[in-house]
């Protein structure tokens, strides 16, 4: 049983109540607490030494990543993060200066987006550091972007450049909060997710939730320089394109809009975010499954992201 199968099994029977708009399974849970125009968003995530960072990682980056992963999920709903709770599980022998620097990284990111850190529990985790973060945010009810809203004919967009995040970006990425809020303010976002498992895997989450398929254009997928460099030196068998499709932890936004919005969106984006690429990488199809078009024609995309490479 892999991680996703276990989550699926466990979340089948979780207790619920009348306030739940969207339960487990999207980037955040969406809750109606009784605010007139807004939903509350909730998300938790953890980073673990030896899994998400190493002893050699700069502690400021550890803190940044721990909080940033949750903020990226809030961005994927077009939300605004407001509060964070932090549980720091420390090995028996810990360096207080190191821990202070973890908080320096976390605090700087929180302060930049107006997020209050309202709890800082510590506990013991013999052997390794673990940081669990829970984030609360809000989102305008009519703007909240789910995974389930993609429609046949939609254009599929992705921000930034993909692949090779482990070369460094996974530690200092900027959650796309400003971009997501701008998108929600100017266009009708049908479906959105942040890229954590890899483009192919995360797009499949949208396709499954929306009960549609997609066709990607091979040449349109933005491949990062890190993916190109890494693949030449470390893993020649994995092409840069495959890296862009399947590497995890890009923390970019993947979303769909109506086809008629595609060109106006690209034009407006360039004026607003001149330093961050936005690429139209394909379209949503009524036919299920994920396909990719290149010079040779259209092929089913077997590579489905992180889970696939764990198994192989």
């Amino acid at each position: 049983m892999n991680e996703f199968e276990l989550i699926a099994r466990l979340t089948e029977s979780l207790p619920t109540n009348a306030s739940i708009v969207v339960g487990p399974g999207d980037d955040c849970a969406v809750i109606d607490l009784g605010l007139p125009d807004q939903y509350v968003l909730l998300k938790t995530d953890a980073v673990v030494e030896g899994v998400h960072f190493t002893k050699a990682t700069e502690p400021e980056n550890v803190g940044h990543k721990a909080l940033g992963r949750c903020l990226s999920d809030v961005a994927a709903m077009t939300g605004t993060p407001t509060h964070a709770l932090v549980t720091l599980a420390l090995p028996d022998k810990f360096d207080a200066d190191y821990v202070g620097r973890v908080y320096t990284g976390m605090n700087a990111l929180a302060a930049r987006y107006g997020v209050a850190i309202v709890g800082g529990e510590t506990t013991t985790n013999p052997g390794r550091m673990l940081i669990s973060v829970a984030v609360l945010g809000t989102v305008a009810k009519e703007k909240c972007a789910l995974r389930s809203g993609a429609k046949t004919g939609d254009a599929v967009f992705v921000t930034g450049e993909l692949g090779g995040s482990l070369a460094g970006k996974h530690l200092n990425f900027e959650p796309r909060l400003a971009e997501a809020q701008w998108l929600a303010g100017h266009f009708s976002i049908h479906a959105m997710i942040d890229l954590s498992d890899g483009l192919a895997g995360d797009l499949r989450h949208i396709l499954k939730a929306s009960r549609v398929g997609a066709e990607l254009l091979s040449d349109a997928i933005p491949v990062s320089r890190a993916a190109k460099v890494a693949r030449r030196t470390e893993s020649p068998a994995k092409t840069p394109l495959l890296a862009a499709l399947t590497d995890g932890e890009d923390f970019e936004l993947l979303f769909t809009v109506a086809a008629r919005d595609a060109v106006p969106l690209l034009d407006a984006w360039k004026k607003q975010f001149s330093d961050l690429p936005l690429a139209c990488i394909g379209k949503i199809t009524g036919e299920g499954g994920l396909r990719i078009r290149d010079k040779k024609g259209v092929q089913a995309l077997a590579a489905d992201g992180y889970v696939h490479f764990q198994k192989s």
Copy 2:
């Protein structure tokens, strides 16, 4: 630097924002999200294998304890828990049935109090299981009980019987949510905390936050049968009274009310909660510090709970 000193250092400079009514340092953070009559409560806590439970612990009890600790903190504010987020960090080799039973325990407790579990992340923690839980709740603005409200002359009350929790109660305690809400509905609770570090240590948290002292009556402190039995067999040097004063994880409520409310409260409590003892154990004093009165007179109480015994 011990845990409390580290927390104090880290929480000095946490980012904040205008919504914070009470930040880190009380049982829950208290937030004004814009609801007309209610504040939002936020709390996070974690349990770790080998620290808070063992491999031999029944998994249902592990789940119960992981969620119950947070619910007890919500009770201490007289709040109502509404939503929980769970991060389950699993060793490389885990037993899916064991994990399912952890959720069975957690879900049963959540369902009993109408708490929706809206996120169930899993991650890897090589070597041991760790469960981090974050809880959101609400509380009527005028009822929210803080640690800082104790006043000179107040009567000090505690629910249940104290000490010896490690003999079993720490795994299957019932968070005092119903009791706390009833208290808030019928009496003016000046200050409240849940007992996690031990009576003496937790009372000191109230005294520090309220800038007052207290005098306890030795004979009035309710000592659990587990504390009496455990001390005879395991730790004869620690008297049952000292166990009741300093053992952790009682998860009972410690609170203060005006002296004039003491007798009416005891009378009304007996009718409402005939199965759960309530004891008036002393009074709040203008003179700082914590003292205890017995047949020999009044003595300063040196035993200050869990931290003290870690050091000795």
